[in-house]
């Protein structure tokens, strides 16, 4: 029987690396439904989970898949699902339930071009706003965007750690291109992988309050069967978890849900800087398009252009402060993403009109080439 952590050097797809990352993080439940290009994650989990004491189930649709993931989370397991566009849309209502009930879970979206059935076998980055706002109401979530199979492995672990630390759904936003691309993946020894678990309650069970936050804004979370008699509801609730239909209760609950994320931005937001020190033009990108930008940055530097690159690893919450700081000293931004300008809007919002913001994007189905980025740089920021 293979161990949960497959220490060693592997050649695997991004989807497989995602599954291995989940197992290394301690995930023991996967509720899924087949959909291109995320199916391989389910397939890999169906093979691996029973061997490490976990459970895989293919549910009757994506709505059931995410509902089962939440159920398993309350049974005390680290749980996850993986899907793509249409399935992601179907999951939205229960993602709201996860946010509202502060249920830790990981949802992987291997993005394909949409809307609707779109281009099932061809990649895109068109769900970046949907992941932020897809369920109704105001809420906060965390979303990460890996750019290689190796990083999918690590970010899936990070996603589980963040979801446990903040009792919130966390999204791994990959895409068809890295999901299906085979690359070298190095899996470290198990004792070098940091895994976190949701804080457990202490003290008297009959006085326990399910949503009374600790110092970091997050409440401890018991599992079903541990004797806390918890009540978990998607209705607006008080700290005990009881439904309260009032403006005040709504205010308190929403403030708590937002504060635990927005009050810990330094802990959650991860970015990577490339040649930003003297940069005049800053590329902003994430996921597969980050690789386009790395090449474009190098080529631009080769031409003597002062181009730097800010790679967003955490997409949500957005790295607003980083963009704001750069906007004080650079000539402009170029956001590169496989959509028609989603994160581009966030960059514009954060730059607050101080410098021009441009987009290199398209409707989806293929990667963006470094040449397209260089052309935009030359067009938007002509050399004097």
């Amino acid at each position: 029987m293979k161990p949960a952590v497959l220490t060693g050097e592997h050649y695997m797809t991004g989807d497989e690396a995602c599954a291995e990352g989940a197992l290394a993080a301690g995930c023991l439940f996967f509720g899924g439904y087949p959909i291109t290009p995320a199916t391989e994650i389910a397939e890999h989990m169906s093979e691996r989970l029973p061997g490490v004491g976990g459970t895989f189930i293919q549910m009757e649709d994506e709505i059931a898949a995410i509902a089962s993931v939440l159920g398993a989370a309350w049974a005390g397991q680290k749980s996850m699902t993986a899907t793509s566009g249409p399935g992601f849309s179907l999951m939205m209502e229960n993602i709201g339930l996860a946010a509202c009930t502060e249920t830790p879970c990981v949802v992987v979206n291997v993005q394909r071009a949409g809307p609707s059935t779109g281009l099932p076998t061809m990649g895109a980055q068109g769900d970046m706003m949907q992941v932020r706002w897809g369920s109704h109401g105001d809420y906060e979530i965390i979303a990460l965007a890996p750019c290689s199979a190796q990083e999918i492995f690590y970010q899936t672990i990070t996603a589980f750690n963040l979801s446990e630390r903040y009792r919130t759904p966390v999204f791994v936003m990959t895409d068809e291109i890295i999901g299906h691309m085979s690359e070298k993946v190095i899996i470290p020894p198990a004792d070098q992988i940091k895994t976190e678990w949701r804080p457990k309650p202490q003290g008297r069970k009959d006085r326990f309050l399910l949503y009374k936050p600790g110092p970091n804004g997050v409440a401890p979370m018991p599992a079903a069967g541990e004797g806390y008699n918890v009540h978990v509801t998607g209705l607006t609730h008080d700290e005990k978890g009881y439904p309260v239909m009032s403006v005040e209760a709504q205010h308190q609950m929403m403030t708590r849900i937002k504060r635990k994320i927005l009050g810990n931005l330094d802990d959650i937001i991860m970015t990577e800087s490339h040649q930003l020190e003297d940069a005049e033009i800053v590329l902003v990108s994430y996921g597969i398009s980050a690789r386009t930008c790395l090449a474009a940055t190098q080529q631009a530097r080769g031409m003597g252009l002062k181009v730097g690159f800010l790679r967003l690893i955490t997409i949500w919450p957005f790295a607003e402060a980083q963009i704001q700081a750069l906007a004080q000293r650079v000539k402009g931004f170029v956001t590169v993403e496989i959509n028609l300008g989603q994160i581009h809007l966030e960059v514009m919002r954060s730059a607050m009109g101080k410098v021009p913001c441009h987009l290199v994007g398209h409707h989806g189905g293929t990667i963006i080439s470094p040449d397209q980025v260089l052309a935009k740089i030359k067009e938007a920021f002509p050399c004097p």
Partner: protein
């Protein structure tokens, strides 16, 4: 001494189900004459009588009047999204097979928006006890037509009468593979409590339909007072255990069949998973 007199003395005896009710959430939302409370009490009585460690019992509900049940039971309880109580409960059970998971919800939640989940849970024989309070309409939203509303019955969305045929719920459960199926009305509380207890102890997918009145929304529009509905439950029902599932339509112009219709053995989803998938 009467209860009122006891109350004046400050010596009200505990409700027999006090230990299973979140009394800090009373009064409940259910209307006078509603059948949900009776079915809910039968469910709690069955839990106590079953001898199952109460700490292992969880209740999962969807949305609607019956969906509020999870909010009143002093156990680990989950009030989920509309129609999704069963898949949530499936994850809960698979995540910790030691839990005894009871789904308590209404006919609209379980059989219209959640109908697909019901048949698949029965097919895979996941070890859940599903109790459906069938009041023939969507009560919480004011009395709209449901997948269980009788043909020609009036609701707010079928003002001229329901042009559609209702589901026969025990037939659906039987066809989908449920290992235990029973139906009672809220007038038959002893039988109902016994059957819920059996359903809970039974491994595999168990289904108990409970017919209960909704006088405020369904009864009012169909010229049926609460007491008349209860009379129908008394006079227009017949107990026939192991009846042919195709004979179980809810049509009070004929006799409505009550009883225990399925009680069979079949390996559960978890047993089969362990046998099939864990030995690779």
């Amino acid at each position: 001494m009467s209860l009122t007199a006891l109350a004046k003395n400050g010596a009200v005896p505990d409700h027999p189900l006090e230990d299973l009710i979140r009394s800090d959430r009373i009064p409940h939302i259910w209307c006078p004459g509603c059948g949900i409370g009776t079915a809910f009490a039968a469910c709690l009585s069955a839990m106590k009588a079953s001898g199952i460690d109460l700490q292992t019992i969880c209740m999962v509900s969807g949305i609607g009047c019956s969906g509020r049940a999870a909010g009143y039971v002093k156990l680990d309880s989950f009030h989920t999204t509309h129609g999704r109580a069963i898949p949530f409960a499936t994850g809960l059970k698979l995540g910790n097979p030691k839990l005894n998971v009871v789904v308590f919800s209404g006919d609209g939640d379980l059989f219209a928006i959640g109908g697909n989940h019901f048949i698949h849970a029965a097919r895979r024989n996941i070890d859940l006890t599903v109790i459906c309070l069938n009041n023939l309409n969507y009560g919480m939203t004011g009395g709209q037509v449901a997948a269980t509303t009788p043909f020609l019955a009036r609701t707010t969305t079928t003002p001229a009468g329901n042009p559609e045929a209702p589901f026969n719920l025990p037939l659906l459960a039987w066809a989908a593979g449920a290992t235990y199926v029973a139906r009672w009305t809220i007038l038959h509380t002893r039988e109902l409590t016994e059957c819920i207890q059996k359903a809970m102890k039974k491994s595999g997918f168990s289904f108990v339909e409970v017919l209960g009145p909704c006088p405020v929304n369904y009864g009012r529009r169909n010229k049926e007072k609460s007491l008349q509905t209860l009379k129908l439950y008394q006079e227009q029902t017949i107990i026939r255990n192991n009846a042919d599932p195709t004979d179980l339509e809810v049509d009070f112009s004929k006799k409505v069949v009550l009883g225990e219709f399925v009680d069979k053995e079949r390996s559960t989803c978890i047993e089969n998973y362990d046998k099939t998938c864990r030995l690779m």
